[in-house]
């Protein structure tokens, strides 16, 4: 357990306290900029912004329950191949931290060039729901109330995204620093915990008052996780039941129009261009005709199930369950439900957890000489 400090909250405004925290970071000579969610005009939610000037921190709102996109991809652009020596401090949700770690394993970003700061995540609303939430209760008071419930229950009849309801990775201990909200009186103060040597270094330099762990965060977390896991189990069971055969899967995916937005929104689908959009899948007319003949009829566009199954094979071991796929789907296909269910299985099969440890190689990049004897009937 690393050292713990306290981020004082003044005037019952944790957002201002975090803005202040960002300013402290920015004041550090090693930090060149801060990447953090910033409120969009018109209550549309928050999007990441790269802030280099402290005076521009006023709109920063890392606590807004809005998760318009996974910022891990943004951070990779800021870190891959960066060589000026400065660090970008990134305030991220745990799923963003884990996605970023996955992307770093794939050489898309670099942990060297960033200071990762994660925040305890109570969850967020989907992109379509957030404006409604914000319209109903766009003030600090309602935010504090939201944080107090840790995203449980409905807020003005609006539920947080299902990915968040079923998320068991609500804290980002993989980051250099993490900010503790759970179990805290967010109107008074937040916790800051150092998890890595780099985090410890900053902790010392930031000069925040020391704090002790009174166990309240762990207790709150435990209660939250119990609920989340139960929800997750329920989701897995529902999804498994709905997709237990090819007919079920087809129905599950039936609204898909092959727009590939899910893969564009997916933080760990790192390909410059999906293979399904390349010439590999530019079929010749006679091929379509021959398939149609073979099957009697051919659904157009083709390869929908093929796409989703292949995407599962490609990224399910790296899936962090952030739910941006569902968020991005224009047709309401419950993509997250499917992918998270399968990802849980594939990651378990390889004793792997996406984003857990930067030193852990992706399962499909390594092998052992002796493993999985059941595949070949125990024979070498």
């Amino acid at each position: 357990m690393g050292s713990i400090a306290r981020i004082e909250v003044k005037d019952g405004n944790p957002v201002a306290a975090l803005q202040n925290f960002c300013a402290r970071l920015l004041a550090d000579s090693e930090i060149t900029a801060v990447l953090a969610p910033r409120q969009l005009p018109g209550n549309r939610g928050a999007m990441p912004a790269l802030v280099a000037a402290p005076e521009q921190l006023h709109d920063i709102d890392p606590l807004a329950p809005s998760f318009r996109l996974n910022a891990a991809r943004m951070l990779t652009r800021l870190t891959r191949g960066a060589d000026d020596g400065g660090l970008v401090a990134a305030l991220l949700r745990p799923c963003e931290v884990r996605a970023f770690i996955e992307l770093c394993k794939l050489n898309q970003g670099s942990l060297e060039n960033t200071l990762l700061v994660s925040l305890d995540c109570p969850g967020a609303f989907s992109n379509t729901d957030y404006p409604r939430f914000a319209a109903n209760s766009g003030d600090t008071w309602s935010l504090v109330q939201f944080l107090g419930t840790s995203g449980r229950g409905t807020h003005g009849g609006i539920e947080i995204a299902r990915a968040c309801c079923t998320c068991e990775h609500t804290t980002g201990a993989e980051a250099d620093l993490s900010i503790g909200l759970f179990g805290q009186d967010v109107e008074k103060g937040l916790l800051l915990m150092a998890n890595t040597p780099r985090g410890e270094g900053f902790m010392t330099r930031l000069g925040l008052p020391e704090a002790t762990d009174d166990g309240s965060r762990d207790k709150a977390l435990e209660a939250l996780l119990a609920e989340r896991r139960a929800a997750q189990e329920l989701m897995f069971a529902e999804t498994t039941a709905a997709t237990s055969d090819m007919t079920g899967l087809s129905q599950f995916l039936s609204a898909c129009v092959n727009c590939y937005n899910c893969r564009a929104a997916c933080p760990v689908c790192y390909c410059k261009e999906c293979v399904f959009l390349t010439d590999v899948f530019e079929h010749k007319p006679w091929q379509y005709l021959s398939w149609a003949r073979q099957r009697g009829a051919l659904k157009m566009p083709t390869d929908t199930v093929f796409f989703h199954l292949t995407r599962l094979a490609h990224m399910s071991t790296a899936c962090v369950g952030c739910g941006q796929c569902s968020n991005a789907c224009p047709n309401g296909v419950p993509v997250m439900e499917l992918f998270k269910t399968i990802a849980a299985a594939t990651q378990k099969a390889f004793e792997y957890e996406a984003g857990r440890d930067p030193g852990e190689a992706p399962p499909l990049s390594v092998f052992r000489e002796r493993e999985f004897p059941e595949l070949t009937g125990g024979l070498d």
């Binding site: 997709t243 055969d245 293979v275 093929f306 299985a345």
Partner: protein
């Protein structure tokens, strides 16, 4: 192109009540299993006609796409077969293949594709009889299992 369609149109659906003959696509490595299959063929070993060999240089190059494509395209089963561990002409391709098959085994059976329809075996170049036996056993097993429903379903 018209001729093609014309010929294809002469195809008829299987006769009702006829015995089910599974279609198995086998991705085999150039160095071991393909040569074993060739040996089985040239030695006239009795082997199931249900298998179509797709020669790969190494099982390590069998993309998960290929297996998914085959199963969605109506293959009743897929066999991936290469050199024994430690034997790979390309040092370690078979180990990589094993991980990929493991991955697909975690995914596809969850959608009703019976895990028995995906098989990984090691068959060395001189093991013609082993290849024939593997194929025959596999074909018999799949016959028992019945046809895969991807061919029948109006798949997306």
């Amino acid at each position: 192109m018209q001729e093609l369609i014309a010929t294809l149109e002469t195809q008829s659906d299987p006769l009702p009540g006829a015995a089910f003959e599974p279609a198995i696509v086998a991705f085999v490595c150039n160095w071991c299993t393909y040569t074993a299959a060739d040996l089985a063929g040239t030695s006239r070993m009795v082997q199931s006609p249900n298998v179509r060999l797709v020669r790969m240089m190494c099982t390590g190059m069998v993309d998960p796409k290929y297996i998914i494509k085959a199963l969605l395209g109506g293959a009743d089963a897929v066999l991936v077969s290469g050199c024994h561990p430690g034997d790979c002409h390309y040092i370690n391709g078979n180990y990589k293949a094993r991980r990929r098959v493991k991955l697909l085994m975690e995914i596809l059976p969850r959608f009703g594709i019976d895990s028995r329809r995906i098989k990984l075996t090691w068959v060395g170049a001189s093991e013609g009889n082993e290849f024939a036996a593997t194929v025959n056993r596999f074909a018999a097993e799949i016959k028992e299992l019945g046809p895969i429903d991807t061919r029948r379903l109006p798949l997306l």
